[in-house]
C-alpha cells in the first residue's frame, strides 16, 4: 500500500502530510510532483494544504489544470482514496470532484486556531476509526474556508451523509460561535457521492502526534489505511 502526496507549486503542507504518513504512522509514501501523470503505484492520494499557484485568480483554480489532475480524475473513478486538506479541498472543489465552492471567511480574517469538529459520519473510509458523534480537536489555518453551495446541494449532502465533519462547540453543537469562517451549516468536510474523496479545511496532519498538542487527526489516516487493507466499501 502506497500513499502519494501531490506537490503543486506553492503547496506547503506536503512535508507535514508526508512526515505523518511515513514517520509517524509508518506507511509507504512518496511525493508526487504535479507534472506526474502515472499514479498507478498509489492506492491513496493526499492533496495537501498551502497556496498552490500563489492562490492566484481563486484558491485552487489554477492547480485544477495541473497535468496530474487528469490522472486524479481517473484515480477517483477507480475508487481509490483521495483526501484534500485545506488548499487541497479548494482544489477538489474547483476540479468539480466535490460540489460547492469556497468564499473568503466572513470575518475578513485569516483564521489560524484550534477548532472542535463533530464526526458526523463514521461509515466513510476516512472516519471509520472514530466513534459516531465524536468531537475532535483539529487546527485550521485559512482565509477562504467559507464553504458555499446552493441549498438543494446542501440538502443532498446532508441527506446522503456526505457532511462528514462540522464545526461545533465543545458539547458538539453546531453554533454560530463555533463557526470560524461562515461555512454553510458549519460544514468543515464533505465527501463525494461515491465516498472515496474527502475534502476538509482542518489540518489532521498537524495534529497526529502528541508533541504537536493533539493527535485527533491521526485516525483520519489510520482509517484510510484500514479501509484499504480491508477493502471495505462504503455503506452510506
Amino acid at each position: 500500500m502506497k500513499f502519494g502526496v501531490v506537490v503543486f507549486p506553492g503547496s506547503n503542507c506536503d512535508s507535514d502530510a508526508y512526515h505523518v504518513l511515513k514517520d509517524v504512522i509508518g506507511v509507504d509514501c512518496e511525493y508526487v510532483w504535479h507534472e506526474t501523470r502515472d499514479l498507478s503505484d498509489f492506492q491513496a492520494l493526499v492533496l495537501p494544504g498551502g497556496f498552490s499557484y500563489g492562490d492566484y485568480l481563486r484558491c485552487g483554480a489554477l492547480a485544477r489544470f495541473s497535468p496530474v489532475m487528469d490522472s486524479v480524475y481517473r484515480f477517483v473513478d477507480e475508487g481509490k482514496l483521495v483526501i484534500g486538506i485545506c488548499n487541497g479541498f479548494q482544489i477538489l472543489l474547483e476540479a468539480g470532484l466535490l460540489p460547492g465552492a469556497m468564499l473568503p471567511n466572513n470575518v475578513l480574517e485569516f483564521r489560524c486556531q484550534w477548532v472542535d469538529l463533530k464526526v458526523e459520519n463514521t461509515k466513510t473510509p476516512f472516519t471509520c476509526l472514530y466513534e459516531p458523534g465524536e468531537v475532535i480537536r483539529v487546527p485550521i489555518a485559512h482565509h477562504e474556508g467559507n464553504y458555499y453551495a446552493e441549498p438543494d446541494v446542501l440538502d443532498e449532502l446532508e441527506r446522503a451523509g456526505r457532511v462528514v465533519l462540522r464545526y461545533v462547540d465543545a458539547s458538539g453543537n453546531p453554533t454560530l460561535e463555533a463557526n470560524p469562517n461562515g461555512a454553510a451549516r458549519n460544514i468543515a468536510g464533505i465527501t463525494n457521492e461515491k465516498g472515496n474523496v474527502l475534502g476538509l479545511m482542518p489540518h489532521p496532519e498537524r495534529c497526529s502526534e502528541s508533541i504537536l498538542g493533539g493527535r485527533d487527526g491521526r485516525r483520519i489516516f489510520l482509517s484510510m489505511i484500514k479501509s484499504l487493507e480491508t477493502g471495505a466499501s462504503l455503506s452510506f
Binding site: 483554480a61 474547483e94 460547492g100 468564499l103 470575518v107 461562515g182
Partner: protein, 89 residues
Amino acid sequence: MKFKGTVTVWLKEGIFDPQGAAVKGSLEAMGFKEVEKVRIGKNIVISLEAEGAAEAKDLLEQMARKLLANPVTEAYRVHVEEEKAGAER
C-alpha cells in the same frame, strides 16, 4: 485582428461580499451617506487574436466559463474592443 477583452468577475447577487461590506463601512465613516451597496470584483484584461469581434467574445466567454469565473459563486461579464494598431496598453 487583435482584440482587447475585459472579463469582469464578481460575487453573485445574494452572496455576502466581506470586502465590499468593509469598504462600504469605511465610505460611510467618511461621510458618504449616499452609499447603498458596494461589491468588489476583478477585471481580467486579455489581448487576443481573432477573426472578428464575435469570435473574440466567444473565446473569452469560454475562458470565463472554464477558468476565470467559478459558476457556483461568481458572475461575469465580457467586454470586447478592437485593439488599435500600435496603441499602448
